[in-house]
């Protein structure tokens, strides 16, 4: 459900729930909106919502969302070094199962609608907060909200007449730093309010010059990336209604320089341009009935530009090989609306509609790819018989013009306030992942492959059980201790995998064939007092071992532990804050079939080693409007981690060291913020 977050902003400002002092906001209950009927405090929500506030992004000196999210439990990133992109897993489920939303509306990336690839294409300077809900949210958010939802709430103008902010961050990439090395980021933003009209604009520039690492010559292990991000917003609000139009524009270039070979080098550049228009509105029709509506229009294009560089003359020419020049584009239109009706203190209803239309065209997308039209209606009810019990059943019905969507998706979320300090949440939901445009319509042929999309694909379906206990061990005005224990179990059926095209064995296509499961436990503790906040957690995630279907003696799950620690210590009078961010990502085991020396086959256990990521920052405030952040990212100097997989058979090899980071880096960031 997309609730107008502006309301939240207003609420925050007017009610004074959150004071100016950022630290105190930790003590307060977070206001959450993802999946809620109305913005409300996280502890009242039937969902377990994790919130990452702007302060956290700033104190971590984050340049991209990955910097922040990779410190979270149950989250794991992997890098595609060739394309300079990264993808994420949540609860052991891949990025296509995670719905990434901007202000409640979907994004489009290279693969089609919303997946984790979009996370690093969002301006971190424009984020108010990030809300993460784990577990299926398909009733409210539809396709791909199977592992969970990441809703990025952008900044909105506050009631200040004029606000100005600027940020500069200079950072090394490992030990590399200079005019054409390291990271150089700038951002400038302004907001202006005049009576009922408000407006805001921002321009950000993120320049990463890459990192050489293991690469030789002109090549770089981490590819240079240059992003320009702009956004503009204009809105109108009164007592009953609020409406705004927003345009976000992204211009991204990732460079993949080649090494000289045979007298020439082959350089690739991936150029992404994305326009994201959003029109959102909220109005209170009657006392007990309100409506939220939104329309978004996204145009995304990705160009692959390949050139050859002559080693002797430096002459740059267009390359002529197969697939080396490509322009793919996607258009997406989303319309979404929800009505909130409160019948009585016990009963609330939320009917809603969600229409998503998308189309792709370009090099490898088959020419007859039609528009993918998805029409959905959903209905949730929240029943609160007493203050201590909330029960929220819901369902969604879907009609899709191309693939077989599940006809109806149900969910039930419950929350029981067992004692004043103990809350139990339990939920069951079905989730689904839509086949992506790639899986439906991409065709690819080369020496070793003939891969065609399969327009007959069905959605992947999941059954999911989530539950958690939240215990406020101690809660005084001075300090608070809270423990949360969560568990999840997901089974995915109808999983899309490669198979032969029926009737033409020469062609590989995508078919609904596999099954997958994940389960896990997470334990979190938070301790907060006036000057100190400590958050510590561990998790243990099991991933289904598909080889058990060949050898029933193998374990059904392989397990990965994770642990994290985030500490903030504030030296009150000096305005100085120290932050430590730490995450241990345990080794990822995987059973595989290998060939032994005698040519026989054996199942063996391979694994990607675990690693520790730690960031440390110190933040000093000057004159109330200037912040300086000095930090060390990747303090433990992680670059690649070992991977014992023997699958090193060429292009699709999953063997070999996995790139994690580019080593210990140092940064200095200056934030200027003026409200008048």
């Amino acid at each position: 459900m997309r609730i107008v977050f502006l309301f939240t902003c207003l609420l925050v400002l007017h009610s004074g729930l959150v004071a100016q002092d950022s630290l105190k906001s930790y003590v307060m209950d977070d206001i959450v909106i993802t999946g809620q009927f109305e913005p409300q405090s996280a502890s009242r929500s039937v969902y377990q919502v994790r919130t990452i506030a702007m302060e956290r992004i700033q104190s971590q000196g984050a340049n991209r969302l990955q910097d922040v999210l990779q410190t979270e439990l149950n989250v794991r990133f992997s890098q595609d070094m060739a394309l300079g992109e990264s993808s994420m897993t949540l609860q052991g489920l891949g990025g296509q199962n995670i719905k990434v939303l901007i202000d409640g509306m979907p994004l489009i990336t290279r693969e089609g609608t919303s997946n984790s690839g979009a996370l690093n294409q969002v301006d971190v300077n424009n984020i108010e907060k990030i809300e993460i809900v784990e577990g299926p949210m398909s009733v409210v958010y539809g396709a791909d909200a199977l592992a969970g939802v990441i809703n990025i709430i952008t900044k909105k103008p506050e009631n200040d007449k004029l606000s100005l902010d600027a940020r500069i961050q200079e950072e090394s990439a490992g030990s590399e730093y200079g005019l054409d090395k390291g990271v150089h980021n700038q951002s400038v933003g302004a907001g202006y309010t005049l009576g009922k009209v408000y407006t805001q604009a921002r321009l950000s520039h993120n320049q990463f010059y890459g990192w050489q690492g293991n690469a030789t010559g002109r090549d770089k292990q981490w590819h240079p990336k240059n992003q320009w991000l702009t956004s503009g917003l204009i809105g109108f609000r009164n007592d009953k209604s609020n409406i705004f139009y927003k345009l976000d524009y992204l211009d991204e270039s990732i460079q993949n320089p080649g090494v000289f070979n045979g007298g020439e080098a082959l350089d690739q550049e991936y150029i992404i341009k994305r326009f994201n228009h959003q029109l959102q509105g909220q109005t209170r029709l009657f006392d007990k009935l309100s409506y939220n509506g939104a329309v978004s229009l996204i145009n995304f294009s990705r160009r692959t530009l390949t050139t050859t560089v002559n080693q002797e003359t430096g002459d740059v020419r267009l390359a002529i090989g197969t697939g080396l020049q490509d322009l793919s584009s996607y258009d997406g239109v989303s319309l979404r609306g929800t009505f909130q009706y409160q019948l009585s203190p016990q009963w609330s209803f939320q009917p809603g509609y969600d229409i998503n239309l998308e189309q792709g065209e370009g090099g490898r997308i088959s020419a007859d790819a039609p528009w993918l039209n998805d029409y959905a209606f959903f209905f949730s009810t929240e029943y609160t018989p007493t203050d201590r019990i909330s029960i929220r059943p819901g369902f969604r019905v879907i009609q899709n013009s191309v693939y077989q969507a599940p006809p109806a998706v149900p969910s039930i979320n419950t929350k029981f306030q067992l004692t004043d300090n103990l809350v139990l949440r339990a939920a069951y939901a079905r989730g689904f992942r839509a086949p992506s445009l790639r899986e439906l319509y991409f065709n690819f042929y080369d020496a070793s492959h003939a891969i065609e999309g399969n327009p007959d694909l069905e959605a992947e379906l999941s059954n999911s059980v989530n539950g958690g206990l939240n215990w406020k061990l101690m809660s005084t005005t001075k300090s608070r201790v809270e423990i949360t224990l969560n568990g999840f179990y997901n089974t995915v059926d109808n999983m899309i995998s490669y198979g032969q095209k029926p009737g033409n064995s020469l062609i590989t296509t995508y078919i609904n064939i596999d099954r997958f499961k994940t389960k896990g436990l997470t334990w979190n503790t938070t301790y907060t007092n006036k000057a100190l906040e400590i958050k510590a957690g561990i998790s243990y995630t099991g991933r289904y071992n598909q080889l058990i279907e060949d050898d029933s003696e193998l374990p059904e799950f392989t397990w990965t532990p994770e642990a994290n620690l985030m500490t903030t210590y504030q030296l009150e009078p000096a305005g100085l804050t120290f932050n430590l961010f730490y995450k241990y990502t345990g080794s990822l085991p995987n059973y595989e079939v290998s060939t032994n020396d005698a040519g026989g086959e054996a199942i063996r256990l391979a694994k990607i080693d675990g690693y520790h990521m730690m960031d440390f920052t110190a933040r000093q405030q000057f004159f109330g409007y200037l912040n300086a952040t000095l930090g060390v990212r990747n303090l433990l100097n992680v670059t690649n981690v070992n991977n014992t997989s023997t699958d090193t058979g060429g292009t699709h090899s999953t063997g070999g060291a996995r790139p994690i980071g580019y080593g210990r880096s140092y940064f200095l960031g200056l934030n200027f913020n003026l409200n008048k």
Partner: protein
């Protein structure tokens, strides 16, 4: 009120101006030009053998011609040889210049040199051809002269741009190092190769991903579609299965490990094989290759070689083809529609071949057949190769005295894919390995050192380049 509107407009422009700055920054990139289209002889030196009446000389373009037409002029000068009385060319030369016309889409042009009837050559005759001028989108490249000798040569050195046919790699190219000669054959032009040696062995055309599976039946007429249930899904390059590995010829070229068992002298012992003829080269780069269909076959011995019986799977009658062994050929080739076909040069007239090839790989589930582009095979009739890493000895400094330390291999895929990398998840691009070169011992006992100098031209695969030198 008026003041409000003015301010409102100001607000709007403030927002718009900031956007436009960034959008403008993104524009105005210069677009790089296409690469020059260069023209070259395939090698700087060639010979026309004693038994040959004529020779086709190919001038290769680095990419397909993108203008309506172009003229290529070749100037010739003879030494100890006279145009007209002792040799002619087609098209004919005017004032010692041959004028060739190329049309849009052409990737090469050629002319033919013919010996005049009844003329005896001493061996000291040489014609030098020079690409003198061109225009209209064609620019002379690095190999603009060709020395044609009328005696067998033992090339001291050479460079070749292999005529693989470009992005769809439609050719298998046989290379004779000592003669500086390459012979390109469409890899779609044959199905089976019949061994001319003592044994009765049959090989599949692995360059189009053929498979063969034995049935228990020995009578072709008894085989129907019901004998092949499930074959389409399993007996294919796209099955990516270990089982399918048993239905291809071993990539090593070892004739004891072919998909089709040794042909018995007793016809009743020869079983029927179901053949997946694989996939033809794609019509255009990035398009799918067409299936070449399926056949059922049975092969028997004859006094002079083989008898091939073949038919479509559900046919009740079958065709027959007699294939006699030919002493000079390692294999005699047959095509189901075209009958006997010429494919590889005589067994002492080629050393290595560049081709697409069904190799093996392991993606974590065991060895499976996997198609590789840019594979280099060696002639199994006496050619041996060894790889040398430049860490051990540089290409330049490697001499004949270094040969003794090498272990030579007869495996046809010894060079295989080891000379190049195709790029992959690490972000690397397809490239030749510059840290290695090869020693090729040809059937006559000559040793060449050979290195691959390019995998791509202008970013396009399918026209790799080699350089080699005789070790003496």
């Amino acid at each position: 009120m008026k003041r409000t509107i003015t301010q409102w407009i100001r607000v709007k422009y403030f927002a718009l101006s900031i956007f436009s700055v960034a959008i403008l920054t993104a524009c105005g990139d210069d677009e790089p030009a296409l690469p020059d289209n260069t023209i070259n002889f395939q090698s700087p030196q060639q010979s026309i053998a004693e038994q040959e009446a004529d020779l086709e000389v190919v001038i290769a373009f680095s990419r397909a011609l993108d203008v309506a037409s172009a003229i290529v002029s070749v100037e010739l000068t003879g030494e100890n040889i006279d145009y007209g009385s002792e040799y002619t060319t087609s098209p004919a030369a005017t004032s010692n210049v041959i004028t060739l016309t190329a049309a849009e889409g052409d990737e090469q042009t050629s002319f033919t040199v013919s010996k005049a009837d009844g003329v005896l050559f001493d061996g000291d005759e040489v014609i030098t051809f020079t690409l003198t001028s061109s225009g209209d989108g064609l620019i002379p490249g690095n190999t603009t002269t060709l020395e044609l000798r009328f005696a067998e040569i033992l090339a001291e050195q050479g460079q070749l741009v292999i005529d693989g046919g470009g992005a769809t790699y439609p050719n298998k190219v046989f290379i004779d190092l000592s003669a500086n000669r390459q012979t390109a054959v469409n890899r779609d032009s044959w199905d089976l190769g019949f061994y001319s040696g003592t044994d009765f062995k049959v090989i599949l055309n692995s360059s189009v991903t053929m498979f063969a599976q034995a049935l228990e039946k020995t009578d072709l007429a008894e085989v129907t579609a019901s004998d092949t249930v499930g074959f389409a899904a399993t007996m294919s390059i796209n099955a990516f299965s270990t089982a399918a590995f048993g239905w291809i010829d071993d990539p090593s070229g070892d004739l004891s490990k072919t998909a089709i068992a040794e042909v018995s002298a007793t016809a009743d012992e020869n079983v029927v094989y179901i053949i997946n003829r694989g996939e033809a080269p794609a019509a255009a780069a990035g398009a799918a290759g067409e299936s070449r269909g399926w056949k059922k076959i049975k092969i028997n011995q004859t006094a002079d070689g083989y008898q091939l019986q073949y038919a479509d799977i559900d046919a009740t009658t079958f065709s027959e083809l007699e294939i006699d062994k030919v002493e000079a050929q390692q294999f005699v080739y047959a095509h189901f529609e075209d009958g006997l076909v010429d494919v590889e040069p005589a067994k002492d007239k080629w050393d290595i071949a560049w081709t697409g090839f069904m190799n093996s790989t392991n993606f974590g589930s065991g060895l499976i057949p996997y198609y590789f582009q840019d594979i280099v095979l060696q002639n199994t009739a006496g050619v041996e190769t060894a790889m040398v890493l430049t860490d051990t000895k540089s290409y330049e400094s490697f001499g004949s005295s270094d040969i003794a330390s090498l272990a030579f291999s007869e495996n046809q895929a010894t060079i295989g894919s080891t000379w190049r990398v195709t790029g992959g998840p690490g972000g690397s691009q397809p490239a030749v390995h510059e840290d290695r070169f090869y020693i090729v011992k040809d059937g006559s006992g000559n040793y060449y050192k050979l290195k691959f100098t390019a995998l791509m031209q202008g970013g396009e695969r399918g026209k790799p380049q080699i350089a080699y030198e005789l070790l003496d």
